[in-house]
Symmetry: C2
Subunit: 325 residues, 2 copies
C-alpha cells in the first residue's frame, strides 16, 4: 500500500484526457468564451512579444475554436508598450473568418484608429469604483462615462458593437469590498450609453459565489438583461472557477478567460492572473456545455506561447495535460 | 490609462485581506474541514520532514482553528518512509485538546499500533476501481473490503470511529471515467462495514460539478446518508473549488483540504495537489459559512512550512496573502 498512486499512474493523454460528460440541471447548454489572452494577458508581460508571434497566437486560438478573441488595445502606445503594435497586428488577422476580434478603445482618438483599421467590435474600460477610476482613467466615474459617451455613440453610428468593461466589481484594493448597488449604478450608466455587453470584472480576484449571485440578481432587478452580461474572474485567490459556476447557475452565458491563464498579478508571482481558458473549458466540457473549443489544441497553443514567453503556463489544466511542460 | 492596475495597487494585508461576506441561499451554515496536510500532503514529499517539524505543523494547524487534523499513517514504515515516525509523532500531539487526530490504518497490524498509541479515530483507504485496488492494495475491491472488515469491527469494539476513504471516485488513470454506480457499490460496502464517514476522493482531479452532483444523488438514493459523506478534491485541473461548491449546494458539510495545497502530483510539477485549505476557507468565509478557522494564521502556517520544505506553497490564497513568499 503506497497511498501515492500518482507515482505509478499513466499520464492522461489522448481521448482519455477529457472529463466525463455529466450535465447538471439548470445550466446553459452553450457558453460563449470571450478570449482575452492576446490583450488582457499579454499586456501584463514585461518583455515585448513580436507582432508575428501575437498574430500566430490569435490564429492558433481561432484554430482551436475560439470565436471571440480580444486582439489588442488602441490606447496611447507609450502607456502600454506591449500593445503599441496594434496597427501592424490587426491587419495580420484579416484572413480570420467567423471570428470576432474586439479591440480595446479608451477614447475618441482610439475610436478613430479603430475605424481606420476596420475594427467591427470595440470595448471601453470603465471602473465600478472612484479610486480605480481616478488611478486608471484619471477622472471620476461620472467623468469616465462622459468620456465614453461619444465613443459609444459614434461607434454605434458606424455599426460597431461596444462592450463595456466594469473593473473592481467585487473588491477594490483601495476601497475594500464594493457594494453591489455601486456596481449597478455604473453598469446602468454604461448600458444606457449603448454598450450591448457588460463584462463584470473581479480585477483583484476576491469575489466568492454568493457575492457573484447577489450582484447578478441586483443587475437583473435594475433592468440590465442577463443576455448583456459577461463575467470576468481572476484566480488570485483560486476562486475564479467556483465564481464562474455560480454565474452559470444564474444564467450567464458569456465568460471571459485567458488562454493558459496569461495575465500577471504582482501579488502572486506569475501564478495567478485571469481565469485560464483551459480550466474553464475542462469544467464546461464536463458539464456538457458546448463551447466549440478543442481543448487539446488550445492547451497546445498555451504550451507553445509559454515557450515563447520563457516560463510555464499557470493553468493547472495546461500543466496536467502537458506533464513535460 | 494603464489597464495594469495591479502594478500600482496596495497589497491586500490586515483585516482587508478577507472576502466580503455574502451568503448564498441553500448552503450549509457551517462546514467541518478535515485537514489532511500532515498525512496526505506530507506523504508526497520526498525529503523526510523531521518529526518535531511535523508536530509543530499540527500544533500550528490546531492553533489556526482546525479541529480535525489527519496526523499520520500506520502503514508499514518501509512503504511510506515519510510517515515512518508515527509512533514518535503521535505522542507529541497529546496536549491538543478538542482536536480530532485521525490516523490512517491499512490493516489489522496498523490497528494494533493505533490502539497501542491511544488513537481515537482511524481511516481506512479503499478504492472505487479494481485497477487502483490492485495497484495500491494488491487485491480486488472485494478482497480489500474483506481486509477492512475486521479492522472496522475491532475498531468499533474499542470505541474508535472509522472513516473510509474511497479513491478514484470520478476518474481512474487506467480505467478512465468511473460510473457512479460502481462508486455507490463500494461506498455501501464500506458503510455497511461500519465506517461512519466516507470521503469521496477525486484522486486524479478530473471531476466536474455535474459529476459530483450525480454521484451524491446516487449515494443518497442508495441509502448512504448525506451526513456521512465528505468530499476530497484534487486541483489537478483547477476544478477542486468549483466541485466543492457543487457538493455544498447538495448539502455536504465535511470537506477535506490540505494546508497550503500540500500534496504533490507528478502530472504537474508540485503545483497541483490537494485542494488548498486556504482557498477553501476564502470561499467559505465569503459565503458566510462558519469553519472556525483563522485564515491569516493558517496561511502563515503554510508559509512557515513552505520555508521548511524549501519551496513556495501552491495555494493561490497563500501566495496572494504573502506576496513576498
Amino acid at each position: 500500500m503506497t497511498e501515492t498512486p500518482e507515482e505509478r499512474a499513466p499520464a492522461a493523454t489522448g481521448p482519455a484526457a477529457l472529463p466525463m460528460r455529466v450535465p447538471a440541471p439548470g445550466l446553459p447548454s452553450r457558453v460563449r468564451i470571450h478570449e482575452v489572452g492576446p490583450r488582457d494577458g499579454l499586456q501584463n508581460e514585461r518583455a515585448v512579444v513580436p507582432t508575428e508571434v501575437k498574430a500566430e497566437f490569435v490564429h492558433r486560438l481561432a484554430a482551436a475554436g475560439l470565436t471571440t478573441i480580444e486582439a489588442t488595445s488602441l490606447v496611447r502606445p507609450e502607456w502600454v508598450p506591449q500593445l503599441a503594435d496594434a496597427e501592424r497586428l490587426y491587419p495580420l488577422l484579416g484572413d480570420l473568418t467567423g471570428v470576432e476580434l474586439p479591440v480595446l478603445v479608451p477614447n475618441e482618438r482610439g475610436l478613430d484608429r479603430a475605424i481606420a483599421l476596420g475594427v467591427r467590435r470595440i470595448a471601453v474600460f470603465g471602473s465600478a469604483t472612484e479610486s480605480f477610476a481616478r488611478r486608471n482613467l484619471n477622472r471620476s466615474v461620472d467623468e469616465s462615462l462622459a468620456m465614453f459617451a461619444p465613443v459609444v455613440e459614434r461607434a454605434r453610428a458606424e455599426g460597431i458593437a461596444v462592450r463595456g468593461y466594469l473593473s473592481m466589481c467585487f473588491g477594490d484594493p483601495w476601497e475594500g469590498p464594493v457594494p453591489a448597488g455601486q456596481v449597478v449604478s455604473v453598469a446602468r450608466g454604461l448600458y444606457g450609453l449603448g454598450c450591448t455587453e457588460l463584462s463584470l470584472g473581479d480585477t483583484i480576484g476576491v469575489a466568492t459565489p454568493g457575492q457573484v449571485r447577489a450582484l447578478l440578481t441586483a443587475l437583473g432587478a435594475a433592468g440590465v438583461p442577463l443576455s448583456a452580461l459577461a463575467v470576468h474572474f481572476h484566480d488570485t485567490y483560486g476562486q475564479a472557477l467556483a465564481n464562474t459556476l455560480a454565474a452559470l447557475e444564474h444564467g450567464v452565458t458569456t465568460v471571459d478567460a485567458s488562454a493558459g491563464g496569461l495575465g500577471g498579478c504582482p501579488y502572486a508571482r506569475s501564478a495567478t492572473g485571469n481565469l485560464a481558458t483551459e480550466d474553464l473549458v475542462w469544467m464546461l466540457r464536463g458539464l456538457g456545455i458546448e463551447t466549440g473549443v478543442d481543448l487539446a489544441g488550445l492547451a497546445a497553443t498555451s504550451v507553445w506561447l509559454a515557450g515563447r514567453l520563457g516560463r510555464p503556463s499557470p493553468s493547472r489544466t495546461v500543466r496536467a495535460l502537458n506533464p513535460e511542460d
